[in-house]
């Protein structure tokens, strides 16, 4: 009972379903845990040791320069992530949602997107944000409590972070339907949308509904599920008996499992999937098989629910180290390059820190701004009354 594929096989005909010995919960968990290698169908182009391997369906041509670019992206977003995490520990942020370990999945997907594409993140997609031209400075305000995200989602084509699990999948499906209705699908210049969500999110009704909508309307939508193995404390096995990528078949579109710690494979698969969408063959589900190396958020304590051996095992698959090994082993980069990237990363972190600690308190009037596109008189009256009330304190305090 170690191969999860078994459960996707049709039952032998004639045998009553009940006697086909449904696996016990323990067997399911043991079985899926055994897929922590990703299973036979995992698409991989760069091994954890940094060696290039071929895949029959997902070839990628990449220059050393592009490879160095991916490396730089990953180092920078990891550094910004660690700085934000530290800022939270120092009381500068109310919360931080770390991406540690998921850099390759996010950079691979993010760099596959074109400027005309649209992306709908969940709340951990700082790496995708980076690829969309959203600076970490524009993200931290949300976790410091001064705004709800400072970037312009229309200009950046990067939707606001979505906290309610799964909601964004339907919003993305609608957006992608619009791309199709607008005639932006059909050739290599077509547009596509990518939506990001976790393994836990796949249990939400909205994600199921988004699968249905995207498929029946042929929406150019890539579902990018980062299976980081855990939904806070709940393992993937608590969400599904099947490997997640296999669910796509039930909705009538392809599902692919990619090594989410392999930036090359993720880039190749994401490019292919977006291309399918551009040409009108979407949607596609990508399951990026990865691991969240830190806690769920800074409020979580991952040692309560997972074994350190599991974390140690995944450390060996670090997404950045394998690219570094590949670059150095093939002479694509030297010490100066690595030192340069590191210095750039430290500079980014310093900029982030400086920006974060000096973010001004929002004025109270901000609370009332933009509730409506067409202001409501009652709310305007409430705001005026509150401002008068505040003004009453102005004279007396000193």
């Amino acid at each position: 009972m170690s191969s999860p594929e078994r459960w996707s096989q049709p039952q032998p005909s004639g045998a009553p379903a009940a006697t086909a010995a449904a696996p016990t919960a323990e067997q399911v968990i043991a079985g899926l845990r055994a897929t922590s290698e990703g299973g036979a169908e995992l698409v991989q182009l760069l091994t954890p040791e940094g060696e290039r391997v071929d895949h029959p369906d997902f070839h990628i041509d990449i220059t050393p320069d592009e490879l160095r670019g991916l490396y730089r992206d990953m180092v920078l977003v990891r550094r910004a992530d660690r700085e934000a995490n530290a800022l939270q520990r120092q009381g500068q942020l109310g919360l931080w949602v770390p991406l540690l370990g998921q850099e390759a999945a996010q950079i691979g997907a993010g760099r596959a997107l074109r400027p005309t594409d649209m992306a709908f993140p969940s709340y951990r997609e700082h790496g995708v944000a980076w690829c969309r031209g959203v600076h970490p400075n524009e993200i931290v305000g949300m976790f410091r409590g001064v705004d709800h995200g400072a970037w312009d989602p229309v200009a950046k084509r990067f939707h606001p972070y979505t906290i309610v699990i799964g909601n964004q999948c339907l919003n993305a499906a609608g957006y992608a339907m619009g791309q199709r209705f607008d005639g932006k699908v059909g050739d290599d210049n077509g547009e596509a949308t990518m939506v990001f969500f976790g393994d836990g999110a796949t249990s939400q009704g909205d994600v199921h509904e988004a699968f249905v909508w995207a498929s029946v309307y042929d929406a150019p939508l890539v579902f990018f599920c980062q299976n980081n193995q855990w939904a806070i404390s709940e393992p993937t096995e608590r969400q599904s008996r099947l490997p997640l990528y296999q669910r796509a078949r039930g909705y009538g579109f392809p599902g692919i499992r990619v090594d989410g710690n392999d930036v090359l494979a993720t880039l190749a698969v994401a490019r292919w999937a977006l291309d399918e969408c551009r040409h009108g063959n979407g949607p596609v589900l990508i399951e990026a098989f990865t691991y969240r190396m830190d806690s769920h958020t800074t409020s979580d304590d991952a040692t309560r629910y997972r074994l350190s051996t599991e974390v140690e095992e995944w450390k060996l698959k670090d997404p950045i180290e394998r690219v570094k090994a590949h670059l150095s082993r093939n002479g694509f980069a030297d010490h100066d390059f690595f030192d340069g990237v590191q210095a750039e990363a430290d500079e980014l972190a310093a900029v982030l820190r400086e920006h974060c600690v000096s973010l001004p308190e929002p004025p109270p009037s901000r609370m009332f701004d933009n509730v409506y596109a067409e202001p409501s008189p009652a709310l305007q009256a409430q705001q005026a009354e509150y401002e008068t009330y505040l003004a009453g304190f102005a004279g007396g305090e000193h």
Partner: protein, 340 residues
């Protein structure tokens, strides 16, 4: 307080006044809006070929095609959630929820995303979406087909909530709601769907988010909306035979509430009865009563009274006559107010 500005829609008086049902008014509003703006799309369960279970969207798919009148999969969260994405893309979706009791699967998308994205993005994303909800009882339906869930939405900042009560308002209010850049929850009293009135397009419409005095009077004020407007008017007519001179105000807009005409009226009559068929607890009726006692305290001759549905789930159809406020319950409340 100044009446909110929302009266962009005007029609050139092309046709002679016509007598229409509310369903026809709504249908015509959708058609005209779709003709004028190619970004207006209609989506929902059965809205295409069938024309909606109440035929409000009758004939639209035939004329505008399947891409502008979408027969969607059967999932309300999906309807609202994808409408949001379409609106971000520049469309103006009008979603139909088949019956009041089925809006709840879409509730999450409405309150979590639809209501908040404009605020969260500091105005960069506008969601000009109308969610049409046939609401209320009185049609002898099975459960989940007769509910009045409007207060849930009025309680959520970022949404606008309106309820029409007659065919003319149905036409104009829907036209205006579609033109509004904010999400509008549009409640249609299904028991009034087949009532008729004369629609004269040469008469300029009233602003969407405003209430209207339907009947002037001096004895007491009745503030009401949706299906209870007709009931309240009937009560006023019956009351007149007993020497009562009741003022009736159709609130029309539930969020924002346009209370100016109510305050003005209560200052003259000294008495207010709020009539609504939704359960009274924590309701629109409760909100009106609170604000009026706050603003008109020294004018009131009696406490504000409410005539509402009971604080029970909607009962089986054989009991709805007991549940729904009727003419007699309204007049009994007027008597109580006068006896104070």
């Amino acid at each position: 307080m100044a009446a909110p500005t929302m009266h962009r829609s005007t029609d050139t008086p092309s046709a002679a006044p016509q007598t229409i049902t509310m369903i026809k008014g709504l249908n015509q509003a959708l058609r005209t809006s779709m003709e004028r703006d190619p970004k207006v799309i209609v989506m929902g369960e059965d809205v295409g070929k069938l024309g909606g279970v109440f035929r409000v969207t009758d004939g639209l798919q035939k004329d505008f095609g399947e891409q502008r009148v979408l027969d969607t999969p059967l999932a309300e969260s999906g309807i609202i959630g994808t409408a949001i994405g379409l609106a971000i893309r520049g469309y103006r979706p009008v979603c139909e929820i088949q019956f009041d009791g089925f809006i709840f699967p879409g509730f999450d998308q409405i309150v979590s995303q639809l209501a908040k994205l404009h605020y969260r993005t500091q105005g960069r994303i506008k969601l000009p979406i109308v969610v049409r909800v046939p609401f209320g009882g009185g049609i002898g339906a099975v459960e989940h087909h007769s509910e009045s869930p409007e207060s849930y939405f009025a309680h959520t900042a970022g949404l606008k909530v309106v309820a029409c009560s007659n065919p003319v308002d149905a036409y104009w209010m829907l036209r205006q709601a579609i033109e509004c850049d904010d999400p509008v929850l549009f409640f249609e009293p299904k028991r009034r769907y087949h009532e008729k009135a004369e629609l004269d397009l040469s008469v300029a419409p009233q602003p969407l988010f405003s209430s209207r005095v339907l009947r002037k009077g001096s004895t007491a004020t009745i503030a009401t909306y949706g299906p209870m407007v007709r009931t309240s008017m009937d009560a006023a007519i019956a009351g007149a035979e007993d020497g009562l001179d009741l003022e009736v105000i159709d609130m029309r807009s539930l969020s924002p509430l346009d209370l100016g005409p109510v305050y003005e009226s209560v200052r003259r009559t000294g008495r207010l009865i709020v009539v609504s068929e939704a359960p009274g607890e924590s309701s629109i009726a409760a909100e009106i009563a609170t604000k009026v006692q706050q603003e008109c305290f020294y004018s009131l001759e009696a406490p504000v009274l409410r005539v509402t549905g009971f604080d029970t789930p909607y009962p089986p159809a054989k009991l709805e006559e007991n549940f729904l406020p009727d003419l007699d319950r309204v007049l009994a409340a007027v008597d109580r107010s006068l006896a104070w």
